[in-house]
């Protein structure tokens, strides 16, 4: 099992936190995990992305030339990473902030109006966590339990409210996606054979 996920968006959209939470959760499941931010610090720009690799073995490289999963938070990222995901992989796309659709048919894609949903649910700033929840529903890289525990851990220094808000956002994203996927082939995924104990296959493969 070796699952590579890229999160991409604009600076400030919380892309790096998404990756961090996923990596943290994977660590809690005693998986091998690497988290790698794209560091373009010598050139300024509004984009941010990071890659999380989860595996049950040593991980060679924390960067991915063709990730299994790609989570897209805004339009420039969609443009940039359209051809980046591996054939057969999956895309999760914040449809609120992209123009049009992914121009590929060899990957699974799920469009979530995350910004709108987040705004409606109270704060635009939760869009990333909702997407993260949806991503978990879609990919099953870690369990929701682990993720919820991870969030409690990560924000332990902040107040309880921050934890709650984030946990709720993740959950609502998960629920949204589970429902959405349920409409399609989510059921199929739920019964997919796990390639290794403690490891879950990437959704949509």
């Amino acid at each position: 099992m070796l699952i590579k996920t890229l999160f991409a968006g604009a600076g400030g959209q919380g892309v790096l936190s998404m990756g961090y939470c996923l990596a943290y959760a994977a660590m809690q499941e005693d998986l091998h995990v690497t988290y790698m931010p794209a560091y373009g610090a010598e050139v300024r720009g509004g984009t941010a992305n990071c890659t999380v690799v989860v595996s049950d073995e040593d991980i060679a490289s924390p960067i991915a030339s063709s990730p299994d999963n790609i989570v897209i938070l805004n339009n420039p990222s969609l443009v940039r990473f359209t051809n980046f995901g591996r054939p057969g992989g999956s895309y999760l796309i914040n449809s609120s902030l992209v123009n049009g659709k992914l121009k590929r048919s060899d990957v699974t894609s799920l469009y979530m109006p995350a910004s709108e949903l987040a705004e409606k649910s109270g704060s635009l700033r939760n869009a990333n966590m909702m997407l993260l929840g949806a991503f978990i529903a879609m990919s099953g890289v870690v369990t929701m339990d682990t993720m919820q525990a991870a969030i409690a851990d990560i924000f332990a220094k902040k107040n309880k409210k921050v934890i709650d808000i984030n946990q709720q956002a993740v959950q609502s994203g998960y629920d949204w996606a589970a429902a959405e996927l349920g409409k399609g082939r989510a059921a199929k995924k739920k019964t997919a054979k796990k390639p290794a104990p403690k490891a879950r296959a990437a959704a949509g493969r």
Binding site: A10, G46, T47, N74, N75, P76, V79, L97, N99
Partner: protein, 71 residues
């Protein structure tokens, strides 16, 4: 008559032109441009005097004044 033209694809949405326009003639668009910024745009309702402040401050040379009469 002098007129302001904003190229929304060069604009990075910094908002400085909006800030300096003495007439309040510019505003931030609601729609992202290709680069992912909310570009500046002219307010339909306000009359631009062609003072050129917006062009002067624009970091990305996205604004230009043209003499409308000659078009």
């Amino acid at each position: 008559m002098v007129k302001v033209i904003i190229d929304k694809e060069w604009c990075k949405g910094c908002g400085l032109c909006v800030h300096v326009c003495p007439k309040g003639g510019l505003q931030t668009a609601k729609k992202l441009n290709e680069k992912g910024y909310f570009p500046a745009e002219k307010c339909k309702t306000v009359r631009c005097t062609g003072c050129g402040m917006c062009m002067l401050v624009c970091p990305d040379m996205a604004i230009q004044l043209v003499d409308d009469d000659e078009i």
